[in-house]
C-alpha cells in the first residue's frame, strides 16, 4: 500500500505539490490525472524516494519512504516519464542487470527474467539490442525491468505514452492482472480513456493539490448533481429539442446520432428525476426506444475541472 500525508514539495517559493494526501490500497490501480505542471511527476518521484520533499510523510508497505528510503526502495518498481534504456544491452541483459541488482541470482534470477519478458510479450525479442527496439517495445522493456523483482508497489509515470492501441490494451491487461495479484499500482497519464479503463480509483491534481479523489462513481456522486441522459428514438422526432428544453430538470440538448434518432441531455438530479423525465417524454408522444443515465466520463470531469479558474495568487 501507499499512504501519502500532507506531502509538500517546494521549488524555491513555488509549491509544486501542496499538502497532498491520498492512499492506495493493495490490489488497486490509482490513476493520477491533471494538466501539465499539476505536480503529478514530482509527487511520484517523491514516493519513489528520488525527490526530497519539503515536508510530509510517505508510507510504502508500512515503511517510511523518507526516513527508511533504502528499505522502501526494495518494495518499489518505478517507471519514469520518457524512460531511457541501456542501449547497448540486449533486452534480456537489461532485465538481468536489474534482477541481479535486486539481489536475485542463479535459477531464480533466470526464471524471473523470463517471467517478466513473457508478461510483457517480449520473449521473442529478448536477444534484440535495446537500441533497435521500437518505441512500444522500448516501453515494454522498461515495464519488464520494472517487474523483474516483483515489487509490491508500482509507480508508473505516463506508462501508455508512445504506445499503439494494441500495446495499450496489452498494458491495461498486464496492469489489471498485476492488481489481481495484490500489487499496489499508482500511475499518471494524460490518456484519459486509458485511465478510465484501467484504474479503479482516480485522483485529480491541480496546482499541486488533490482536488478530487475516489472511484469514478464516488467522484460523480460527490461532484455532480447533474447527469447526462442518453435518449434513443424509434424514428426522428423534430419537436424533441423543444420538448426537452421545456422540462425544468433538463438544461442541454445535443443531437448525437444520424437522422435525428439519438440525443443527449443534461439533467439535474438522479434516478428519480430520470424516471419523471421519461414519463414526460412518453406523455408528449416522443417515440422513445432507449433511455439511460450515461456513465460519467473522466474526460468530462477533467474538462470541468480545467475550466474552473486558477487559485488566486498561485504561480503558473
Amino acid at each position: 500500500m501507499i499512504e501519502v500525508r500532507e506531502l509538500t514539495i517546494h521549488y524555491g517559493e513555488f509549491a509544486a505539490v501542496d499538502q497532498l494526501s491520498f492512499s492506495v490500497r493493495p490490489g488497486s490501480i490509482f490513476g493520477l490525472i491533471g494538466p501539465n505542471g499539476a505536480g503529478k511527476t514530482s509527487a511520484i518521484k517523491a514516493i519513489a524516494t528520488l525527490l526530497e520533499p519539503t515536508y510530509g510523510e510517505i508510507i510504502v508497505q508500512e515503511v517510511s519512504a523518507l526516513h527508511q528510503a533504502e528499505k522502501a526502495r526494495g518494495f518499489l518498481g518505478y517507471m519514469p516519464d520518457f524512460p531511457p534504456v541501456y542501449e547497448d544491452l540486449k533486452v534480456w541483459e537489461f532485465c538481468d542487470l536489474f534482477a541481479q541488482a535486486y539481489g536475485l541470482s542463479g535459477e531464480q534470477k533466470k526464471a524471473k527474467v523470463l517471467q517478466s519478458l513473457h508478461a510483457t510479450g517480449l520473449q521473442d525479442h529478448m536477444h534484440t539490442l535495446c537500441r533497435t527496439l521500437s518505441r512500444g517495445m522500448h516501453q515494454r522493456a522498461l515495464l519488464a525491468k520494472t517487474l523483474v523483482h516483483q515489487p509490491a508497489v508500482l509507480l508508473l509515470d505516463e506508462p501508455a505514452a508512445n504506445l499503439d492501441p494494441k500495446s495499450r490494451i496489452d498494458l491495461r491487461n498486464i496492469l489489471k492482472s498485476l492488481a489481481h495479484q495484490g500489487k499496489t499500482i499508482l500511475l499518471s497519464s494524460h490518456v484519459l480513456s486509458e485511465i478510465e479503463d484501467t484504474c479503479d480509483t482516480l485522483g485529480f491534481m491541480r496546482e499541486g493539490k488533490m482536488v478530487l479523489s475516489g472511484t469514478l462513481d464516488e467522484i460523480s456522486q460527490e461532484r455532480q448533481k447533474k447527469n447526462f441522459l442518453k435518449i434513443r428514438l424509434a424514428k426522428p422526432f423534430p419537436l424533441l429539442e423543444k420538448i426537452i428544453l421545456s422540462i425544468p430538470a433538463l438544461s442541454l440538448f445535443e443531437d448525437t446520432g444520424e437522422n435525428g434518432t439519438e440525443a443527449r441531455a443534461c439533467m439535474d438530479g438522479g434516478e428519480m428525476e430520470a424516471s419523471e423525465v421519461l414519463a414526460r417524454l412518453v406523455e408528449a408522444g416522443v417515440p422513445v426506444s432507449g433511455f439511460a443515465i450515461e456513465k460519467t466520463r473522466v474526460e468530462d470531469l477533467f474538462l470541468e475541472l480545467e475550466s474552473q479558474p486558477a487559485r488566486k495568487g498561485d504561480q503558473p
Partner: protein
C-alpha cells in the same frame, strides 16, 4: 560479480569490441615500445674501445628495455587515466540526465557497490587495452633487470591514482549537470588536482606533490632506468633526491607511504560525496560536518608539511634551493634588501598557505552553505514542524557558524606556525608583532563571512559572478595599468589589487615581513594599500551580511 561491472563488460566488450580494442592497443603499444626499445638498445662503441679498432654499433637489450619503460607507462596512463576518466565522467553525467541513474539509485545495492560498479564497469574496454600492454611490461622488467619490488610499488600507486582519477570523474559526473561539460570538467579537474596542485610542492607544501605517481616514479624507479654504466646527471640526482623522503612534522615518510596516505584521504572524501549523491541527488556534495572534517585534515597536512620550514628553515624543492642560495648569486630588485631571499621564501610560503586555505574555504562554502532555495526549504520545514530553529549542522542551516569555524581552523595553524618561527633561532625573517597574526586572521575571517553571506543570498550565477568580479577584475585592471605606466601607476595598482584576496594576501605578508623591503629605498606605501584592503573587506562583509539579514526578515 557486481551487476554494474557485468553490465560494463556486456556493453563494451562484446567479441567485436574485444578484437578491435585489443588490436588497437597492441599496434599502439608495439609501435611505441619497440621504437623506444630499439633506440635505447643501440650503443656506439668508440674506436679505441672496440676490439677491431673501428667504431662499432653494439646492442644492449637491458638499456633498450629501460629506455622503453617510460613510454610504456605513459601509454598505460593514457588508456586508463585519460580515456577511462573521460568515459566515466561523460557516461555518469549522461545517465544522470537521462534518468538511468535513478533506476540504479532505486536498487537495494549499497552506494559503495554502485560506485565500484561504475568505476570498474564503465572503463571495461580501457582495462582490456591496459591488459594488452602487460606482456610488454613483463618483457621490460625481465630484459631491463628492473627491481620487481620497486615496480610493484610503482604499479600499486599507479592503480591507486587510476582509482582516484576515475572516482574524481564519477563524482564530477554526479555533480555537474551537463554531460558534455562533465567529461571536460573531469579532465580539467584531474589536471588541476593532480598536475597543477602537486607543483605547489616546490613551494614547500610537500604533501601536495604526493597526489600523483611522480614521487614513486622519480624516487623508486627512475634511478634504475639509466643505461648500464652511466651515472645520473646533476638534474636527475636532484630530482631523485627530492622524492626520497617526505619531511612531515619532525619525522620523514617514504614517498609511497605518503602517496597512499594522501590519495587515501582524497579517495575517502570522494567516496563520501559519491555516497551522498547516490543516496539522493539533491543533497549537497558534503554535509557541514564532512566539510569541517575535510578542512581540518587539510590544515593538519599543511601544518605537518610546513613544520620543518617554520621550525628550522628546512625546505625541499625549489623553495629549499632558494633558501640555500648565496645572496651574491641572487639578483633581487633595489627595493628589496640584498639578503632578502629567505624572507621572500617565507612570504611565498605564507601566501601559498593562505591562498590554499581561502580557496578551500571558497569551495566548501559554495558546497555546504545553503543557497536561497535550500534556506527557504529549511524555514518552511521548521515552520511546519513547529521547531524553534534549523539544527545548525543541517544542510539547510545558515552557514554563519560553519564559515566562522572554517576561518578559525585556518587561523589556528597559521598562528601556531608563526609562533614556532618566532621562537626558532634559525628563522630571522618573521615579525614578532601581534598584528602580523591578527591582521591576516581578521582578513580571513571577514572574507569567509562575506563569502557565506553571498552564497546564501544569491544563486550560482550571482555568487560566482560576485567572486569573479571581486577576485579577478582588480587583477585585470592592474594588468592594464601596468602596461600603461608601471612605475607611475604602482601605488594605484597596489590599492586596486588590495581589493582582491588573491593579490591582497601577498601584500599583507610582504607588509609584515621585517627583512624584505629596504626602508631606505621605498617604491610604494604598502601601509596605505593594506588599510584600503582591510577597509574594503570590512565594508563588503557589513554590506553583504546586512543584505542577507534583510532578505531573511522578508
Amino acid at each position: 560479480m557486481n551487476p554494474l561491472i557485468r553490465r560494463g563488460i556486456r556493453e563494451r566488450l562484446r567479441a567485436k569490441n574485444l578484437v578491435a580494442a585489443g588490436i588497437f592497443s597492441l599496434i599502439l603499444t608495439a609501435t611505441f615500445y619497440l621504437a623506444a626499445f630499439f633506440d635505447g638498445m643501440q650503443v656506439v662503441v668508440p674506436a679505441k674501445e672496440s676490439p677491431t679498432g673501428v667504431a662499432e654499433l653494439a646492442f644492449n637489450p637491458v638499456n633498450g628495455a629501460r629506455e622503453a619503460f617510460t613510454p610504456l607507462l605513459f601509454l598505460q596512463g593514457f588508456f586508463l587515466m585519460f580515456l577511462g576518466t573521460g568515459r566515466i565522467a561523460s557516461v555518469t553525467a549522461e545517465e544522470k540526465e537521462s534518468g538511468l541513474l535513478d533506476y540504479q539509485r532505486m536498487t537495494p545495492m549499497t552506494p559503495l557497490a554502485k560506485i565500484f560498479g561504475y568505476l570498474f564497469g564503465l572503463p571495461a574496454r580501457e582495462y582490456w587495452m591496459f591488459l594488452v600492454t602487460l606482456p610488454f611490461l613483463l618483457h621490460c622488467v625481465v630484459a631491463g633487470k628492473l627491481p620487481l619490488w620497486n615496480i610493484l610499488h610503482l604499479y600499486a600507486v599507479f592503480f591507486c591514482s587510476v582509482l582516484l582519477y576515475h572516482l574524481t570523474a564519477h563524482v564530477i559526473g554526479l555533480v555537474v549537470p551537463r554531460p558534455r561539460a562533465a567529461s571536460w570538467v573531469a579532465r580539467l579537474a584531474v589536471l588541476g588536482l593532480y598536475i597543477f596542485l602537486p607543483a605547489l610542492g616546490q613551494a614547500g607544501i610537500s604533501f601536495l606533490s604526493f597526489l600523483t605517481i611522480l614521487p614513486t616514479y622519480f624516487g623508486k624507479v627512475l634511478p634504475h632506468l639509466f643505461a648500464e654504466g652511466t651515472q645520473m646527471g646533476r638534474f636527475e640526482s636532484q630530482v631523485v633526491q627530492f622524492w626520497q623522503e617526505v619531511p612531515f612534522f619532525s619525522i620523514s615518510l617514504s614517498p609511497t607511504t605518503f602517496t597512499f596516505v594522501m590519495q587515501g584521504l582524497i579517495l575517502l572524501a570522494l567516496f563520501l560525496t559519491g555516497y551522498r549523491k547516490w543516496r539522493l541527488d539533491s543533497l549537497p556534495a558534503f554535509s557541514k560536518p564532512m566539510g569541517l572534517g575535510l578542512f581540518a585534515t587539510l590544515q593538519f597536512l599543511l601544518l605537518g608539511s610546513l613544520w620543518p620550514f617554520f621550525s628550522d628553515g628546512q625546505a625541499s624543492g625549489l623553495l629549499g634551493s632558494v633558501v640555500q642560495l648565496d645572496p651574491a648569486q641572487v639578483g633581487l630588485p633595489n627595493q628589496l634588501k640584498s639578503d632578502a631571499h629567505p624572507a621572500l621564501a617565507m612570504v611565498v610560503v605564507q601566501s601559498t598557505f593562505f591562498l590554499l586555505s581561502i580557496g578551500a574555504i571558497l569551495i566548501l562554502i559554495n558546497i555546504c552553505c545553503p543557497n536561497p532555495h535550500r534556506r527557504l526549504k529549511g524555514i518552511q520545514r521548521i515552520q511546519k514542524l513547529g521547531l524553534p530553529a534549523i539544527p545548525w549542522l543541517a544542510d539547510e542551516a545558515p552557514g554563519l557558524g560553519f564559515a566562522t569555524l572554517l576561518a578559525l581552523l585556518a587561523i589556528l595553524p597559521y598562528a601556531l606556525l608563526h609562533l614556532l618561527a618566532v621562537s626558532s633561532e634559525s628563522i630571522v625573517s618573521i615579525s614578532s608583532s601581534p598584528s602580523s597574526i591578527i591582521v591576516p586572521a581578521s582578513f580571513l575571517l571577514f572574507c569567509a563571512l562575506s563569502l557565506r553571506a553571498a552564497r546564501e543570498q544569491w544563486f550560482n550565477l550571482g555568487f560566482w559572478g560576485f567572486v569573479g568580479l571581486l577576485w579577478l577584475t582588480p587583477m585585470l585592471a592592474c594588468l592594464v595599468l601596468a602596461v600603461n605606466d608601471f612605475l607611475g601607476n604602482s601605488q594605484l595598482m597596489l590599492h586596486l589589487s588590495s581589493l582582491s584576496p588573491l593579490t591582497f594576501i601577498p601584500q599583507l605578508m610582504v607588509y609584515h615581513s621585517p627583512n624584505l623591503v629596504d626602508p631606505a629605498n621605498p617604491l610604494v606605501d604598502l601601509s596605505a594599500s593594506v588599510r584600503t584592503g582591510m577597509v574594503a573587506c570590512i565594508i563588503g562583509f557589513v554590506f553583504l551580511t546586512f543584505k542577507l539579514w534583510k532578505s531573511s526578515i522578508k
